[in-house]
């Protein structure tokens, strides 16, 4: 069965800290790995990583895909209270309907 596992499941840090969130996957026909931020309701897109784009950066957030280790990390530097959210990892497969398989998410809490 295809699987996406995130760790840690929850994390509490202080403003200014740097955090690293992990995602590992076992899927049959890997196509892409996506990171989303879920605050109240809708998952908001952060990054998509593929074989042709294994590293992405936007401001204080960055992500790397390790296709050999079947994993990805999401780094957030100089965390702010507004970074508090659930961070979801999802893997896209080369199926007919491009389904995404999600991990459980990491609940990040940034305290002032």
């Amino acid at each position: 069965e295809d699987k996406v596992v995130q760790s840690p499941l929850s994390l509490v840090v202080h403003e200014g800290d740097t955090v690293t969130l992990n995602c590992s996957y076992e899927v049959t026909n890997f196509r892409s790995l996506l990171w989303y931020k879920q605050e109240k309701k809708a998952p908001t897109f952060l990054f998509m990583l593929t074989s042709s784009g294994i590293e992405k950066k936007s401001g204080r957030l960055s992500s790397i895909l390790d296709k050999k280790e079947l994993s990805s990390i999401l780094n957030i530097t100089a965390t702010q209270t507004g970074d508090s959210a659930i961070y979801l990892c999802a893997v896209g497969e080369e199926t007919s309907g491009s389904r995404l398989t999600f991990g459980e998410g990491t609940q990040l809490t940034v305290n002032p």
Binding site: R31, S32, L34, Y36, K41, A42, P43, T44, F45, M48, L88, A90, G92, E94, T95, S96, G97, S98, R99, L100, T101, F102, G103, E104, G105
Partner: protein
């Protein structure tokens, strides 16, 4: 910035009733999806839709579920006879390309009593 919208934000229904959840995908997107998230659990894929046909569906998407694009802008999910276990947040998503980034709507919280 274009976004996916969903209505209603919260729907309460009695077991056995039919519900229709509505979504307006981003206007130039061609691929549409439904996912659900039971409280405290993972987001799960239900179905993908392209060119007025289902492209792929999961084991969850049984005969009580159906999808439709009734006009050029709406995309709907119908649950024919709701069960208690259908209570969940239902997310609509859309993408421009087959394996493009999927953008999610705010969700409809369905509560089946």
């Amino acid at each position: 910035e274009p976004e996916v919208t969903q209505t209603p934000s919260h729907q309460v229904t009695q077991m056995g009733q039919e519900v229709i959840l509505r979504c307006v995908p981003i206007s130039n997107h061609l691929y549409f999806y439904w996912y659900r998230q039971i409280l405290g659990q993972k987001v799960e894929f239900l179905v993908s839709f392209y060119n007025n046909e289902i492209s792929e569906k999961s084991e969850i998407f049984d005969d009580q579920f159906s999808v439709e694009r009734p006009d050029g802008s709406n995309f709907t999910l119908k649950i024919r006879s709701t069960k208690l276990e259908d209570s969940a947040m239902y997310f609509c998503a859309s993408s421009e390309f087959l394996w493009g980034t999927q953008y999610f709507g705010p969700g409809t919280r369905l509560t089946v009593l």
